[in-house]
Amino acid sequence: MEKLLKYCLKSALFIVLFSCNNSEENFDHLSQAERQKLSTEVFDGGSHLPQGSVKSMTRIERAIAIDPGNCDAVRELSVAYLKRGMPDKWKPQMDKTVECNPEIWTGYRGYNYLWFYRDYKRAIADFNATDSITPDFTEAPQGHSVDFWRGIAYLGLKEYAQSISYFDKHIAKETAESGEDWVEQEAFLYKGIAHYENKQPEKALESLNKVIHYSKNLTADGKYYKALILAEQQNCTKALLLVNEAIADFNNGYFNSRDYVETIRQIYMEDLNKLKTQVDTCLAATI
């Protein structure tokens, strides 16, 4: 019994010591390479923890305490604030990330300004900054070139000439390197929208036809905008066919959207129904 009691006391002491605050840990005895390795292990070792949970945030803080140059960890600390609508907490942490590694994270911050805050001017400033940070190549935060993102940001500002010129630059580069069929359909879609809003319907149709072609005829957005133009040109029969196809595509999930935020120029079923009503009226008037 006495032994059991001693064992329990030892176990309790061990647990108390083990659960001591990590901020008291000291890593000065480790070399820089060892700190980097340990920091990566701590960070990666908890990547399965729910994002923004206390355990996850604690492990990220520990990874940064071990190696303040672990910029992936510095960035990860900002993400939960971004996704949960807390810009005052997101911004200082994101700025620290950019300071940590401007080459990697400046474009990414621009991407966040663009989509989560619709802060087009700051987004463009960050995308432009990548031109001088990495002059030898075009940055591609979140998998798309900064030219593509600038095209969207200028569309957000309704500066159509700039928007179109960046889409042209992006499309020309992708086409030269990999072929036109490798260009994102969204590049053609947004370029088409920019032309449409800039009152250049024929040029818009050129781009929208490419969206329809490369999407294998499954695009509610491409067909919606094309139908919109045809209806304005009083080509109501074709417009009706297209808007009906657009509704079918939309119902089957073939429309432009994003996971965490509404996309720019998002279309909804109400838009499609409204256009269908207009086209029906147009057709009735011509009979």
């Binding site: 923004g52 949960r84 989560f116 965490y260 909804y268």
Partner: protein, 181 residues
């Protein structure tokens, strides 16, 4: 009798091994990660139901479990769709001489009946720092956002549940220019 005893011991040993393996796996996967509760009292985005605004109008359902805490419910929350919500807001909102720019964010909960409450308000300037906007403007936006007709019932399987959502209004010179997410 002896065979029964042996089988019993084997079964007991197997059970102990299974429990030990489960405990070991749980510990390695989750339990071993410490929590700095001094710095993070709860998960990011947690709403303190004691201090939140409009916390006494409705009640949370069941045990009070909250879903969609990862990033809100942008594809499920709006009753009639985001477009409908946008139209309602823009039709209701009056600038009333407000001239400020920045963001007004409402982070809140919606119960299993689609009723919103437990609001936290974040007033942010164009530099992403906390500020105090025109109180009448914020109050007007809170009143619009907290209208239950805007919000859907969210179900997990067949069961309606409580969930988290946020709405961010980007304001330029007193006018709403974007409604996110």
């Amino acid at each position: 009798m002896r065979i029964l005893k042996i089988v019993g011991w084997i079964a007991l040993s197997a059970l102990v091994i299974c429990v030990a393996l489960f405990a070991f796996s749980y510990y390695n996967y989750f339990g071993k990660f410490p929590e700095d509760r001094n710095k993070y009292s709860d998960y990011i985005g947690h709403i303190d139901q004691e201090t939140a605004l409009l916390n006494d109008v409705f009640t949370l359902c069941g045990e009070g479990a909250i879903y969609k805490t990862h990033h809100g419910a942008p594809k499920d929350a709006y009753n009639g769709g985001k477009n409908t919500f946008k139209k309602r807001v823009l039709e209701s909102y009056k600038t009333n001489g407000a001239t400020e720019s920045g963001y007004v964010n409402f982070r809140f909960l919606i119960n299993c009946e689609g009723n919103p409450g437990w609001f936290e308000v974040l007033e942010i300037d164009m530099n992403y720092e906390k500020t105090n906007h025109n109180p009448e403007m914020v109050s007007q936006l809170l009143s619009i956002t907290s209208d239950p007709t805007n919000w859907s019932i969210y179900k997990v399987g067949e069961d309606p549940v409580n969930y988290y959502h946020y709405v961010s209004y980007r304001i330029e010179n007193g006018k709403i220019t974007e409604i996110l997410p």
